[in-house]
C-alpha cells in the first residue's frame, strides 16, 4: 500500500472535518439535517474567488505567490471577505426560510425538505452565475516535498492540515469553556429550558450559523485551493460531511473532526484498493456501518 494515501487522506479529511463542524452544530442546536450545508462550502469558495478578483483589481501585488505557498496575500484577505459573505448567506436563508418554518412550529422533516429544495436552488444558481466549468484560485504549480517514509506533501497541503487543527482546537475550547459555548450546549439539550434559564435562543442560533457558515467557507476555500472550484463541489461532499458528523456524534466538534479524518483516510486507502471511481461510496459504507453498530457515534450519548 502506498503510504502517500496517509497524507492524501489527512488533507481530504481536514476539509471534510471542518465542513462537518458546521453541520454537526446546526444539527444539534437547530435540530435538523441541513442539506444546504454542502452548498455553503461551494458558495464560500466562489464568494472568496469573487472577492479575490475584486482585491486583485485594486492591488495587483496581492496575487503574487508568497513563498512557499502557491497563493499571495490576496487569498487569505479574500477568504475573510468570503467568510463574512457566506455568513450573510446563511443568516439570510435562516431569516427567509428556516426561521419562519421554526416559528410556525413546523416539523423537523419539513425543514429538512426545505433545506433540500434550497440546496438545489443555491447550487443551480452557482452554475448559472459561474457556469459548470471548474475554476482555480491559483495557477501556480507546487512541488511536493518529501516528508520521509515515502510520503510527500505540498506546502499548501501542510498549511491546510495546520490551519484546520488550529481552528478545531480553538472552537473546541470556545464551546467547552466560554459562556457562549455553554449556552450553545444548553440550547442543544433543551431550547425551551434555555429560555427559562435566561438564554436568548435566537442569539445562540445566530452564533451557530456564524460558526457553521464560517467554517464551511474556509473548508470550501481549502478544497478549492487543493483541488478545484465547481458548483457541485459542496454537494459532492455532502454525504462525507453527514457521515463524519454522525460518526463523530451529533453535536461534538472534536467528533466531527475525527469523523472527517477517518472518512478522508478511508477514502484515500479504499481508492487504492477498489479504484477512484468508487470513492463516493466509502462515506456511504461508513455511514451504514455507524448506523448499524453505534448510531450515536463516537462521542454521542445514547438516546440522543
Amino acid at each position: 500500500m502506498n503510504p502517500q494515501a496517509l497524507i492524501d487522506g489527512l488533507v481530504a479529511g481536514s476539509t471534510i472535518g471542518l465542513g462537518a463542524i458546521g453541520l454537526t452544530l446546526t444539527y444539534s442546536i437547530l435540530r435538523f439535517a441541513n442539506f444546504t450545508h454542502g452548498d455553503f462550502l461551494a458558495w464560500g469558495a466562489y464568494l472568496t474567488l469573487t472577492v479575490a478578483g475584486v482585491l486583485g483589481g485594486l492591488a495587483a501585488g496581492l496575487g503574487a505567490p508568497v513563498y512557499p505557498f502557491s497563493f499571495g496575500w490576496g487569498l487569505p484577505l479574500a477568504m475573510l471577505g468570503g467568510v463574512c459573505l457566506t455568513i450573510v448567506l446563511a443568516l439570510g436563508l435562516d431569516r427567509v426560510l428556516f426561521g419562519r418554518l421554526r416559528a410556525r412550529g413546523a416539523d423537523t422533516i419539513i425543514i429538512v425538505m426545505a433545506s433540500f429544495g434550497a440546496s438545489m436552488a443555491l447550487r443551480s444558481l452557482l452554475e448559472f452565475i459561474f457556469t459548470a466549468k471548474p475554476v482555480y484560485f491559483t495557477k501556480a504549480l507546487q512541488i511536493a516535498n518529501p516528508l520521509g517514509f515515502g510520503m510527500r506533501a505540498t506546502p499548501d497541503q501542510l498549511l491546510v492540515i495546520g490551519l484546520t487543527l488550529l481552528l478545531v482546537v480553538a472552537l473546541h475550547l470556545i464551546v467547552t469553556f466560554s459562556a457562549t459555548g455553554r449556552a450553545m450546549r444548553a440550547v442543544a439539550e433543551n431550547p425551551s429550558l434555555a429560555g427559562v434559564y435566561g438564554i436568548d435562543v435566537a442569539r445562540v442560533v445566530r452564533v451557530t450559523w456564524i460558526i457553521g457558515a464560517g467554517m464551511a467557507c474556509i473548508a470550501g476555500v481549502m478544497a478549492g485551493l487543493l483541488v478545484q472550484i465547481r458548483p457541485y463541489m459542496g454537494f459532492d461532499l455532502l454525504l462525507p460531511l453527514f457521515a463524519a458528523a454522525i460518526l463523530g456524534g451529533i453535536g461534538s466538534i472534536p467528533g466531527a473532526m475525527i469523523g472527517g479524518l477517518v472518512i478522508g483516510l478511508a477514502e484515500a486507502f479504499a481508492v487504492q484498493i477498489v479504484g477512484a471511481e468508487w470513492r463516493a461510496a466509502v462515506a456511504f459504507v461508513i455511514l451504514v456501518l455507524v448506523l448499524m453498530l453505534r448510531p450515536q457515534g463516537i462521542f454521542g450519548r445514547k438516546g440522543a
Partner: protein
C-alpha cells in the same frame, strides 16, 4: 407592594380552545401562594403562560408594576421572573456548576462568583461536587439544582410547577423544607401542586383553578378540612359562593 398581577389572562395552545379562560389575581411581595385544582384545570398552562412558555390570547400580566405580557421567557428572566418547570428543569448534560454559570450570566461579572457561592452555601449537597454532571443527580437533588438556578438571579417571584411530582414521600418532605427556607428568606413564592396536604401546610393563601377559571381564592386554612376543596374540585361551588 404587588409583585405579580394577572388580569383576565387567557392562554393556551390554540386560540379557539383557550385552556386558561380569564384568570385574575395578585400576589404581594413576600407572599407564599399555592395553586390547586383537579387534573386538566389549566394550572400548569397558566403559570407557563406567565413564564412566557405558552402563548397568551388576552389579559395582562404585570411584574412589579411593569407589563410583561407576551414577553419571551428569556426576557422575563431579566425582568425578575424565576420559573422552575415540572420536568426537564435542569441541563443534564452540563455540570452542576455550568448550570449555575448559565443563570449567573445575567448578573454583572463581579457578582457572579458570589452568587454561585451563596447558592452552594444554601444547598451544600450541590456545593460539595460542582463538577458532577447534573444528569447524575437524584430526583431530589435535581429539584434543588433547579431551585438554586432560579434563585441565583434573585428573582422578584419564584414560580414552581409541581416541585414534588414523582418524588418519594421522604424527598417530598425535603423539597418542602427547602421551599419553607426560601419563603422564610423573603422570596415571593408561587407553586402549583397536586400534593394538596404538603402545599397547604406551606402556604398562607391558596387559589383553586377549575376548568380554566378561578374557583376559590382565600386563606389556605379554609381548605384544610378537605370538604370545601372536594366540592370545589368537583365543581359544586362557584368562586362567588366560596368567597
Amino acid at each position: 407592594m404587588t409583585t405579580l398581577a394577572l388580569r383576565d389572562l387567557k392562554a393556551g395552545y390554540d386560540r379557539d380552545l383557550p385552556i386558561v379562560k380569564g384568570v385574575s389575581f395578585e400576589v404581594e411581595e413576600g407572599e407564599c401562594l399555592c395553586i390547586l385544582g383537579p387534573n386538566g384545570a389549566g394550572k400548569s398552562t397558566m403559570i407557563k403562560a406567565v413564564a412566557g412558555l405558552v402563548p397568551t390570547f388576552g389579559g395582562t400580566v404585570h411584574l412589579n408594576g411593569a407589563d410583561i405580557t407576551g414577553l419571551a421567557s428569556h426576557q422575563l428572566v431579566r425582568k425578575g421572573m424565576g420559573f422552575v418547570p415540572q420536568t426537564e428543569n435542569i441541563f443534564t448534560s452540563l455540570t452542576i456548576l455550568e448550570n449555575l454559570q448559565i443563570a449567573a450570566q445575567l448578573l454583572p461579572a463581579a457578582e457572579r462568583a458570589n452568587r454561585i457561592a451563596a447558592m452552594f452555601d444554601m444547598f451544600p449537597d450541590l456545593g460539595s461536587r460542582p463538577r458532577t454532571e447534573a444528569g447524575a443527580l437524584s430526583g431530589g437533588q435535581r429539584q434543588m439544582l433547579a431551585a438554586a438556578r432560579a434563585l441565583l438571579t434573585e428573582p422578584k417571584v419564584l414560580i414552581l410547577d409541581e416541585p414534588s411530582a414523582g418524588l418519594s414521600p421522604k424527598l417530598v418532605g425535603q423539597v418542602f423544607d427547602t421551599l419553607r427556607r426560601i419563603s422564610a428568606a423573603g422570596v415571593t413564592l408561587v407553586l402549583v401542586e397536586q400534593n394538596v396536604r404538603a402545599a397547604l401546610a406551606l402556604t398562607e393563601r391558596a387559589l383553586v383553578l377549575v376548568d380554566g377559571r378561578l374557583a376559590h381564592d382565600g386563606p389556605a386554612d379554609d381548605l384544610h378540612d378537605g370538604k370545601l376543596l372536594g366540592e370545589l374540585f368537583l365543581g359544586h361551588r362557584s368562586a362567588e359562593a366560596s368567597a
